[in-house]
Assembly symmetry: C2
Homo-oligomer: 303 residues x 2
């Protein structure tokens, strides 16, 4: 059997309920991304390829806060972060502050495959991209009118603290268990609306926003990036399983529903363990999410 889960971010509810047209568009985007990942798993592809395919689809969709449609820095630019990890051999690739690579998750995959390194950032990541076949785009490609308006709104509030209290929807991610039992995770984001240029959140940080180990679980998180960095959120789930003997569900509940609220942090995560059990939890009002297991119907939810 195989299992796949994706997310399009967790956060506060919009000021008024999403209008149904827009809600349908989010549903369709999640369905497309889930289908892209599932197609890989259905043809016996590996979990690593499946999460890359799903996240690529979400990156290309302007509705989500990753690549095309990313939120903007205080300087009005898009700076993109992504990571991917293979639970089979703990191989990982990550990039941050990328400005011209159309699909940052694919650049993270190339770091994993083609370099002795795990994490490349900024200009160095751009220079590495030149040595790959990956599509490059001007920074304007990522920037949508919606995100410009959101940046203006947050600047009007003059409010980084407010931004921290109300993380926007949108970071995307995927976790998968393929038919051979391999686990993988990937995450991609534009970060936080109005962030300081050069700011890196949890998404591209192995152990914080992204983690996979066949012996425990694969995890992709979304929410308060700064808190998830401090709590080493993704690896915290794996460690509760490996060292505390917790089930995936018990580990996630303890970490997301008990520990994070105690710290005043909000967000959510998707996770899958070696037997294909999927767990999705969030302590925010809503989270864009979808999942499917071989032979079962796909589930797509927002609230």
């Amino acid at each position: 059997m195989y299992a796949l889960a994706i997310h399009g971010g967790a956060g506060a509810l919009p000021p008024r309920p999403l209008r149904s047209e827009r809600e349908q568009a989010f549903h369709a985007g999640l369905a497309n991304a889930l289908g892209a990942g599932q197609a890989v798993l259905e043809r016996d592809g590996c979990a690593l390829d499946a999460v890359e395919a799903a996240v690529t689809s979400l990156e290309d969709n302007a509705l989500f806060n990753a690549a095309h449609g990313a939120v903007l820095t205080s300087a009005g630019t898009a700076e993109l972060d992504a990571a991917i990890m293979d639970g089979e051999q703990l191989r990982a690739g990550a990039v941050a502050v990328v400005r011209t690579v159309r699909n940052p998750v694919q650049l993270a995959r190339r770091v994993l495959e083609d370099t002795p390194h795990v994490f490349l950032v900024g200009e160095g990541a751009e220079r590495f991209a030149e040595q790959t076949q990956l599509a490059r785009v001007p920074n304007e490609y990522f920037i949508t009118p919606d995100r410009r308006r959101q940046l203006e709104a947050i600047k009007a509030q003059a409010a980084m603290p407010a931004a921290l209290e109300q993380p926007p929807f949108g970071t995307v991610g995927a976790v998968a268990r393929d038919r051979s039992g391999r686990l993988a995770a990937a995450t991609s984001t534009g970060g936080m609306n109005g962030k300081r240029p050069g700011r890196v959140g949890d998404s591209p940080v192995i152990g914080a926003g992204t983690y996979a180990d066949n012996r425990s679980c694969a995890v992709s998180t979304t929410g308060h990036g700064e808190w998830f960095l401090r709590t080493v959120q993704a690896y915290d789930i794996a460690a509760r399983m490996r060292y505390g003997g917790a089930s995936l569900e018990a580990a996630v509940v303890a970490s997301i529903e008990q520990r994070l609220p105690h710290l005043g942090a909000s967000g959510g995560l998707i996770a899958v363990e070696s037997q294909g059990t999927i767990v999705i939890r969030y302590n925010t009002p809503a989270m864009f999410r979808a999942s499917v297991r071989s032979g079962e119907q796909a589930l797509i939810h927002i609230y």
Copy 2:
């Protein structure tokens, strides 16, 4: 009581034993840094200030691979990474690919104190530095003739893989437990000799190279940065204690002496727990290290 430990890197032995004059210089550098941190603890200062003081001293010493005397990228430049974490409230600050800030650990401290963020990299970190009172220097300040020669040597070997197999000495770090029972950790590095520009290792990554939580331990690592990113090394120690009920010593031994060699990874770490017990372990031939506890004699060792 208080406790303080520092390291100046773990790695393979130099081709021939360090000549005694050079060995004395390393001893003196470790003693100075230990003294700088101890002075803070002796006057009832906090653990966070103590680790910052100790690491600043090591950064200023050209013998160690951090700030002045850092190893160089393949482009011949110095790109500096550092992190600092307060175990009291899980506050953390980190910077990577810094090129003009004399003491990167101090910039990491400013990220912790003055921003809502945890991690700033590259140009964004430099721009943030402009808003602080921190000393700025041209990149040449960091570059020593020794490091230029080492870069030429590794280029002659045309060998990133070799570099990965033989991590050089030098990453620096400190962990402390102050008289009030607060824990803190800090790490600073130039990274890996001949690294690709933009490469980030474990040192500035919270959970990988640096971690502190009053309820478990403070950890600073040195070694195979890429492996320590994949194994989420520093948090792995804390998690073995919190979720597995291990003592600090048992956690470190299991992680460094059993897990890492099984993966083919080498390195070491310094750690201190809430009662002031210090544990230092490495699976490399040598590690520059020093420690002291209130009322006890300082220990300084290389082999």
